[in-house]
Amino acid sequence: MTLVGILELARFQFAMTTIFHFFFVPMSIGLAVVVAVMETMYVIKKDETYKKMAQFWGKIFLLSFAVGVVTGIIQEFQFGMNWSRYSRYVGDIFGAPLAVEALVAFFAESTFIGLWSFTWDRMKPAVHVLFIWIVAIASCVSALWILAANSFMQNPVGYAINNHMGRAELTDFGALLTNKQLWVQFPHVIVGTLVAGGFIVAGMAAFKLLKLKPGDPQIILFRKSINIALVVGLIGVGGAVITGDKHAFDLQTMQPMKYAAMEGVDETIDSSKRSDKAQPWSLISVTNPQTHKVIAKIEIPYVLSILGNHSLTGGKTVGTTELQKEFVAKYGEPKDGVANYYVPENTLFYAFRVMAMGAGLLGLIAVVALWFNRKKSNLILTQRWFLWILGVMTFFPFVVNTAGWLVTELGRYPWVVYGLMTIADAVSPNVSTASLLISNIVYFLTFSTLGGLMIWLSRRVLHAGPDVQEEEILSPQDPYEHLQAQKESEK
């Protein structure tokens, strides 16, 4: 029974650290794109406002990148530390994408972010802007490799089981990269980062506009920021709807249990056996976590046929009850502290709705904001209630992205690698409960501190505004200045 204690703690740690890390991943990738667009505008239009804008949002970007990096280090080590049996079982497959990620993407990100943040005054604008684009692209490549690893866990491909070694072995590297799961998940995550970048910038700019007095010269910078950010954000929302629809559609065949739980389907819905020949969709649904039966729901007719069958009628959704029986027949009775093949239905159901409806709400607000903020209108400044709403949207991408991540990862239960290995078989056997407890507490405190500081410092940066350079406060002189003066005098 001690194993269960270790398992729960290791799971909690994985959930906590990845969720926290995943706050900052979409934020920093999205901000990199938004800042890159701003700096590109500066290069094209040669308008200093855009430079100031890129530098200002660049500060927020650097803060988020720093926290993203330091919380990311844990991820790579955590597999070995908490999940050593998993690491041995799939290391032949799973390790490669992680190593490649570090080599081809992470090196580029961190080198060019150094070049970008330290060479504003020393590189030609057209060269300097390349650095931030390289950072943005490398971050996306980074996401691709990490998701290639995650997609293997969701939908294992390109492997064979070696019974002699007792492990799964890679047989086709190309298959890892052409994994169907990867090419719905990766685009979906990338558009999610655009949502994050767009709405964080627009929301913060809205808060700033609330503070600025009429006629303040900074107003123009923040209004332009809102436009750029929301165009990026809207592209993100549109992309999220398209890729999300595809993703959910594919789940019906790839991970039916996840799909059934997301839609709150316990008993199979077969449209051909219904009078309206269509599948109804649950707006609200409550499942009893013990019996795994839906005990209350509000249904809207036809909608699940539209979502799951891409037509007004028809289609069939296999319910969780039937799937549980199927899985037992296919994989045998679950063991090692895993009671059954059900996933946490209520969490998936509502996380999915928060994500989907959240995206819809963000899209709506973006359209209104762009209309209020058009050149000829002052509505964005006069309608202060709306600025408040837009401001609150700063926090929404975090909610939406986390909800999506929860659906993906919790829907994998009880598998660590779908159909191959359960989480209970994956955990390190020799790590003590005490060690795990200590690391959980320390990580929790550390992350809470970092998160709190991050919010506080971002507020301070926003409050100080684009005209104040932090560097000016701390170090009144450019460290190179003396050298330059010396050189000039030598001439």
Binding site: G80, G95, A108, S110, T111, F118, F173
Partner: protein
């Protein structure tokens, strides 16, 4: 043992060597934020000297970890789960250190900035110390069961040998950092750095002798590979002597390279001593071997192609980045 397996063993050694060469001086510079640095100008100069590169330097660690996972999953699994709490401390040090570099300049009060700078010093000491301990413990042998899981207790991790190993790596990083400061910064801080170096080199020499003696008692390196081990130890001592000698002269690049390659020699010493093992077990039958702990030839081959393509490019832009920031930084104190 196949050629591919040996190649990956060497590649992982190179990644760790690169990490200690590069992050070694980062750690060393971090340790100088108080003590060697006397005011904000010094600290700012120290930050500027590593600011653009420290993050990329740290990626060598991430890549080394990833490469171990990909090439030797059994090694990765045993090492990382076996040295759980020590690795936790290293990770925490890296987390706070990385945040500190970014947060310090945003703090509203000077006290707030100071707090982060103190954390830079503390974490810069802690990370190399515990990494040094982990590696020496790995060399000296651990209780490992038939599944490859460590069943070690406190006194397996903490021995006179591992403590000396931890201190040695920390001291070498500090010296490497001092040499970097002399190389990159102009100002009174470099005079202080030179003065410290003159004191620290003899300490390091004594430490190396002690380390060599403990190496004889705690590992089988000298017994199994006497010639190679003794040669490497001798090289280390000669490099230290040369470094000490060079502090009395004006050269700046040479001593920096010496202290950097000193750390590289330590990594080489560890990996040659381990060969053909990856982890030494008290029961020799349970030692993790290169031959039996690796990924499949297919995975190793794919990874080799990736490395052969990506590594030259990566090295290229990293070196270019160092070239872009090649200028010396003048600590403001000199101006006033």
């Amino acid at each position: 043992m196949s050629l591919l397996q040996i190649l990956w063993f060497i590649l992982i050694a190179i990644l760790w060597a690169g990490f200690f060469f590069l992050e070694g001086f980062d750690f060393g510079v971090g340790m100088q934020f108080f003590g060697l640095a006397k005011d904000d100008h010094d600290r700012e100069a120290l930050y500027q000297s590593i600011g653009p590169n420290w993050d990329a330097n740290e990626v060598w660690l991430i890549t080394a970890g990833g490469a171990m996972f990909a090439a030797f999953p059994y090694w990765y699994a045993s090492l990382f789960s076996g040295f759980y709490l020590m690795l936790l401390v290293v990770l925490l040090a890296l987390i706070y250190r990385g945040s500190a570099f970014e947060f310090r300049e945003h703090m509203p009060t000077i006290q707030g900035t100071r707090l982060w700078e103190r954390l830079i010093v503390l974490s810069s000491f802690i990370a190399p110390f515990f990494l040094g301990m982990i590696f020496t413990a790995m060399a000296s042998g651990m209780p490992i069961d038939a599944h490859g899981d460590l069943t070690a207790g406190f006194f397996d991790y903490v021995t006179p040998f591992t403590l000396v190993g931890g201190i040695a790596v920390t001291l070498m990083s500090y010296i490497h950092g001092l040499n970097f400061t002399r190389l990159k910064i102009e100002g009174k801080i470099t005079t202080r750095a030179t003065a410290q170096l003159k004191l620290l080199y003899p300490v390091l020499l004594a430490g190396e002798v002690l380390f060599a003696i403990l190496l004889f008692f705690y590992t089988d390196f000298i017994q199994t590979k006497p010639l190679l081990t003794v040669i490497l130890l001798a090289i280390l001592v000669v490099m230290t002597l040369l470094g000490w000698y060079s502090t009395y002269h004006n050269g700046k690049t040479f001593p920096f390279l010496l202290s950097g390659f000193g750390l590289v020699v330590v990594v080489v010493l560890l990996f040659t001593g381990l060969f053909p093992r990856l982890m030494v077990a008290h029961n020799p039958a349970h030692s993790l071997l290169i031959a039996t702990s690796s990924s499949t030839p297919y995975t190793l081959r794919v990874m080799t192609y990736v490395v052969a393509t990506a590594l030259p490019l990566t090295l290229g832009y990293q070196i270019w980045s160092f070239y872009v920031f090649r200028k010396r930084i003048v600590s403001h104190k000199v101006i006033e």
